[in-house]
């Protein structure tokens, strides 16, 4: 198993050193927000989930046995929070997705008007395709592509076998690529 980069801070936090826990918060708050926002697409809701994640982690820290790396444990808490938020939304009858404006705009583009337009269309298509994916597939590809985690780390976080992670990421990419084919003028029946 990979050495936990947070081990020392976690030990100090477990011993009651609040400043050590604050350092862990500083280290992970943006990463967790990025992940949860990509799943929920609502900044305020995502921040609530991230805050609750840290509070739960703080409360549960004495019981954290260090069998998994701290960050995989933290991601798991955050993903459960995001899943619960989506369930609550469904119970309220709220729409699953939120307007794309809730996500930050991509960086300014440089290129010909045609390429800029196509680039924007591609971004929107990817966004829509991601939104249409089942949560397990969306989570797997976000952890892989945005967080840059290994398949092994994703398997730990999602508590599933490695093969399932591979399959989820493959299916997610296929589903997104299918939406892109007409835009990119690539043969629809061609398998990549």
């Amino acid at each position: 198993m990979k050495v936990d980069p947070d081990r020392e801070l976690v030990e100090r936090a477990r011993a009651g050193e609040r400043a050590a826990f604050d350092q862990l918060v500083a280290r992970y708050q943006r990463r967790l927000l990025r992940l949860v926002l990509r799943l929920l697409r609502d900044q305020a809701e995502a921040e609530d989930v991230v805050q609750e994640t840290f509070l739960k982690a703080y409360r549960a820290l004495p019981r954290f046995r260090g069998e998994a790396a701290f960050y995989t444990w933290l991601y798991r808490i955050a993903l459960n929070g995001a899943r619960n938020a989506i369930l609550r939304r469904r119970q309220r009858g709220a729409p699953h997705g939120v307007a794309p404006s809730q996500l930050p705009a991509p960086p300014p583009e440089i290129g010909t008007p045609e390429s800029m337009l196509l680039s924007k269309q591609v971004m929107l298509a990817i966004d829509a395709a991601l939104e249409a994916l089942p949560l397990e597939l969306r989570t797997a590809i976000v952890l892989r592509e945005i967080e840059g985690l290994s398949y092994e780390e994703i398997a730990q976080i999602m508590e599933c076998p490695l093969g399932t992670v591979r399959s989820r990421i493959f299916r997610a990419r296929e589903a997104i690529a299918r939406r892109l084919r007409p835009l990119l003028d690539l043969p629809v029946d061609k398998r990549w």
């Binding site: 918060v25 926002l37 990509r38 996500l103 440089i110 976000v142 990419r173 690539l186």
Partner: protein, 90 residues
């Protein structure tokens, strides 16, 4: 801007996968917590910490009180035993 796949370059699938990855990363590249987020989180953790301290303090106080009672019981018991010993001796 996203680099779009070029059909002359192979494999297209790898390029598309790379493009999807880039697009996803770009979509959250500028994500930052809102200005009040850090303060709210710190306040919530402070509350939790204080509750933990008060909880522990309450447990400690209860423990100390229990210890005192035990000691008091012990003293009482000792006094009683002492009295009994005195009675027996007398």
């Amino acid at each position: 801007m996203i680099l779009l796949p070029d059909e002359d370059e192979e494999p297209v699938g790898a390029q598309v996968n790379a493009m999807i990855g880039n697009a996803l990363r770009q979509s959250v590249a500028d994500v930052e917590p809102s200005p009040g987020f850090a303060a709210r989180l710190t306040a919530a953790l402070d509350t939790l910490e204080q509750a933990g301290h008060s909880g522990r303090a309450a447990e400690d106080a209860a423990g100390q009180a229990a210890d005192k009672n035990e000691q008091a019981d012990g003293v009482t018991l000792g006094v009683r035993q002492g009295s009994k010993a005195e009675e027996t001796a007398s």
